[in-house]
Structures are given as C-alpha cells and as structure tokens.
C-alpha cells in the first residue's frame, strides 16, 4: 500500500536525519567501523576518540567556542538541566538565585521549578507583545545573590530571536554567567558564544539534520558546574558514561552541513511564502515580530476556530500547536499567553516550521489545506460569540498585528 506523502512542516520539533549524517554514523557502529569505546586506551579506542574529537572541533567551531568546553549530553533537555542545576549546585549557599524568562522551553522552566523545590530562588521575566525579552528587565531581576541567568536564543514556539548580545552585556556588567539554550538556533543563525559573552550554551543535533539522543552543553572555562550524574571519569566527570561515538559523529556531521549563511535565506524565503499565503485568509495573525524572527518558524493564530479541531482538520500536515492539547481543558501555550493572547486565541495557534527538505510546493499545498480547513470550521461556527474570535487580552495593546 502506498501511503500518501504528508507535508512535514514541523522541523522545529525534529528534522529527518540527513543522508550524509546517517552514512557518517554507520561508519562507527559495526565490527568494521570505529565502534570501540573512545575511553579505552587501546588503538581502536584511541581511533574512536579521534572521531569524537573531530566532531567536537566541528561543533565548537560552529558556535565560536573552544572545543574543550563541550560536554556531550543526550540532548538539549539534559544540557539545560546540567546548566541550571549544575551552576546553582556549585554556587555558594545564599547565592542560589536564578533569573530566567516565562517563555523558555519546558526543559528550563521545569528545571527552574525543580530547583525552587530544592530551596533556590527563581525570578521569571516576562516578554513584550512580540515575544521579546527586555535586557532592562533582566538587569532589574539580577540581584547580588544571582548565580545564573538563562535565556533562550530563539523561542521554540514563535521563532523570536532574543537580544542575547544585549542580555550578555547586562550579565557581564554584573558578573553573572549567562546560559543560552540554542536548541532552535544552531545551524539556522550565526552564533558566536565567545564574541557574545555567553557562559554556557545548550545544543542539540536532531533539529538540524542530526540524530536524536545527542546534544551538548558548552561551558566556558571560568564557570563551575556540578555534575548531574556520577559513575565515571568521562568528560571530566561532568557527564560520565560511555561516549556514543556514532551519535557524536552524527552531530558533528550535521553541524558541519548546517551552514546558516547558506540555509538561513532559503528557509526565510519558504517561511515568508507561507506567511503571505496564510495572510490571504481573514482573521489570521502572525504571532511575533517578523523583523526579529528566526528563518524557520512561523506561529499563526486562526481566530474563530477551535485549536484542537483545526489540528485534526490539518492532520495530513505535520505541524505543532503552540500549546499542549489537554483535551477537555486545552492548556494555552505559556509563551503565547505571556504575549497577551487570549486562551481561545492561544489554543487556535499553529506553529509551522520549515527545514532542509521543505519545498515551495509543500508550502503552497499546505496553505491551500489550511485555508480550506479554516473556512470550513468557521462556517460550522457561524454565529459564535465574540470570545471565540478575540486575539488579545485587554492588558496588551494590539501593537504587533501582522498579516
């Protein structure tokens, strides 16, 4: 049976492994390959260690970092956990205050909630109606006892690029290390952690053509981090466990291929093609400021349609909600809520994200399916009360209406 090809516009969730990456990984799996334990002292082990070191250099170069600071993890979630918990655990008692934002990925927000339960203090900074965090707000939140500031580079729901350089300047002036979750930006945007003054940076492989299950935390050499795991000397005991050579080599290959200068403009053109096509539908709002958007993410609210119904109507297109569908009481996206959207609007929002395999035909076909679905659901809801079609709560002005 031939399965109809779905349109995949969910590259911010994960991307297919690039064939060159898969080929690279295969070289380190079998008996004829570099399968040995990279920590072993024999020749085969040393050969595997060279593979790991080669990948380490490529990844570090992509973010402007020194290779020695990279600690490989199972992905960005673990890297974020290691950064937040590790820095706070290493801080002196009485200096365990974290500043982060309300729009971080759950792997930072839930970690922040966890360290609060352990007795740390956390200050959450909001964002403006465009989903941008203010460096001034970060400055006001920093206290003498602050030991870490954690702000993402690109928001995973809206694609908004945060002003990391300005926030880093604020942190540098106050001698507080800045952790940046770059899971969504690596390979899509230029990133130079040393030039920016970033102290820790989380990375993942699978959002830019690499395999799932591998990521890294880059740690500047003047930052002390306590390990989450114990049980070996690997990676300076910061992340013990046998290094997965094939995964790390795959990540290295993916980062080698992911050139923002080449890929960024192509992705931005696809995203803008979709934005313009969707703007032809009435009652559509783009969430965020297109001038400050990463090239691969577009978050759109479709007023007057239930989000769960819309996602089901679009089930042949792989997209994500800006929220977790909780069936009876759909939980509105914490990011869109922080931007001032009503619960109804937040749950009626869809994140489209393009990637290396996306074509203009995919975009045109998806836009046509979306238009049909929205119009059909709106006809079904003809006469619905105003709250079903209200975009923003009253507390924020409509100063970021696009499309």
């Amino acid at each position: 049976m031939t399965r109809r090809r779905s349109i995949y516009l969910d590259h911010a969730a994960t991307s297919p492994v690039d064939p060159a990456v898969a080929a690279e990984m295969m070289r380190h799996l079998g008996a004829d390959g570099t399968f040995a334990n990279p920590s072993s002292s024999h020749a085969m082990g040393r050969e595997a260690a060279l593979v790991v070191e080669r990948a380490r250099r490529v990844i570090a170069a992509r973010i402007g970092a020194d290779p020695a600071g990279l600690v490989f993890t199972s992905g960005a979630t673990e890297a974020n956990n290691l950064a937040v918990k590790g820095v706070l655990a290493a801080a002196r008692p009485g200096r365990r205050h974290l500043v982060t934002t309300r729009i971080e990925h759950k792997s930072v927000l839930d970690t922040a909630a966890a360290v609060e339960r352990y007795g740390c203090e956390v200050t959450y900074v909001g964002c403006d109606a465009s989903g941008i965090v203010s460096p001034d707000e970060i400055a006001r939140a920093i206290r003498p006892e602050t030991s870490l500031v954690s702000v993402m580079h690109v928001n995973n729901e809206t694609g908004m690029i945060q002003p990391i350089a300005e926030i880093a300047e604020v942190c540098r002036a106050r001698r507080v290390p800045l952790h940046v979750d770059a899971a969504q930006s690596a390979g899509k945007l230029p990133l130079d952690v040393r030039r920016l003054g970033v102290a820790l940076c989380s990375l993942t492989a699978h959002k830019c053509g690499g395999p799932k299950g591998v990521g890294a935390l880059w740690i500047r050499d003047d930052v002390t981090v306590m390990p989450l795991l114990h049980g070996g000397e690997q990676q300076r005991s910061l992340r013990p466990g046998t290094l997965p050579t094939h995964q790390i080599a795959g990540m290295g290959k993916a980062f080698e291929l992911a050139d923002p200068a080449e890929e960024g403009p192509r992705l931005a053109a696809l995203r803008d093609r979709l934005r313009l096509a969707l703007a032809r539908i009435d009652g559509v709002h783009v969430n965020g400021d297109p001038a400050r958007a990463a090239p691969h993410i577009l978050n759109v609210t479709f007023l007057g349609v239930d989000g769960e119904a819309l996602r089901f109507a679009l089930r042949e297109i792989a997209v994500s909600a800006g929220s977790a569908c909780m069936s009876d009481n759909p939980e509105a996206s914490h990011v869109l809520s922080a931007m001032g959207l009503t619960d109804a609007a937040a749950t009626s929002s869809i994140r489209f994200s393009v990637g290396r395999t996306t074509t203009p035909d995919d975009i045109d076909a998806a836009a046509a399916v979306v238009r049909d679905a929205v119009e059909r659901l709106r006809r079904l809801a003809l006469g619905a009360p105003e709250w079903c079609s209200t975009w923003r709560t009253a507390r924020l002005t409509d100063d970021a209406v696009f499309g």
């Binding site: 989000g307 769960e308 119904a309 009876d328 079904l380 809801a381």
Partner: protein, 130 residues
Amino acid sequence: MDYSAEVERRFDSPAGAGNVSGAGPGVAAGEAEDKVLNVWVRFEVQADGDTIREARFRVYGCPHTIAAASWIAESLRGAPVSALEQVDIDGVKRALNVPKEKLGKLLRIEDAVRACAEQLSAAAAPRADG
C-alpha cells in the same frame, strides 16, 4: 488525542450542520457555551406537532463536540419532541467513544438542545393574559 473512526467521519462530514430554514411556529433555537471548555453550541429544531422534523446545529469546539452535535442532530430527526428533554448522552459517548474528560462539552450540547425544548414549550403554553 485519539479519535474514533466515527468521530473522524462526522468531523469530516458533519451531517446536520447548519440552520433550520425559515422561522415560524414549531421552530426553536437554543445556545450554550463554556469559555473554560472552549465550546459554543447552537441547536435549531423544527417540530411538527409532536414530531421533530428537522434538527440543525452550529458549533465551535473540538472534533468530539462537532461529531457529537452531528450524532445528536441525526438522532433527533423524526423523534418525539420529548426527546429534546432527554438527550442520550450515554449513547453519544458509546457511539463516538468520547473520553470522559470531554463530558463537560457534551453537557453543553445537552443544554442547547434543552433550551430548544423550553422555547417550544413556552410557545405552546397558553398566554396568561388570554
């Protein structure tokens, strides 16, 4: 969220969607909504004597709600007017395999249908001023 084949079928082709054509004796409408549950339902019925000739709906809600409104509209057609007071919510849940956490949305449909019954009943009652 998993959806049964029947939910999928009714979501894609919601039989009974729309409005009852025309107004007049025997036509009634009822609405119900719940902002927290993110649901709004409008039902319209046309009764001829004691029989429901037509039942139509409009809905803003999830796929289960849309499918349930369609199922109820179909079940009401040809039924006695008294059926408006006794919407078979258990029957809907079984037919569509509706998860229990969505029961609140089904109850809003029931409210809208009952509002139709009340309107029909009020229209049929003799006026106090003669």
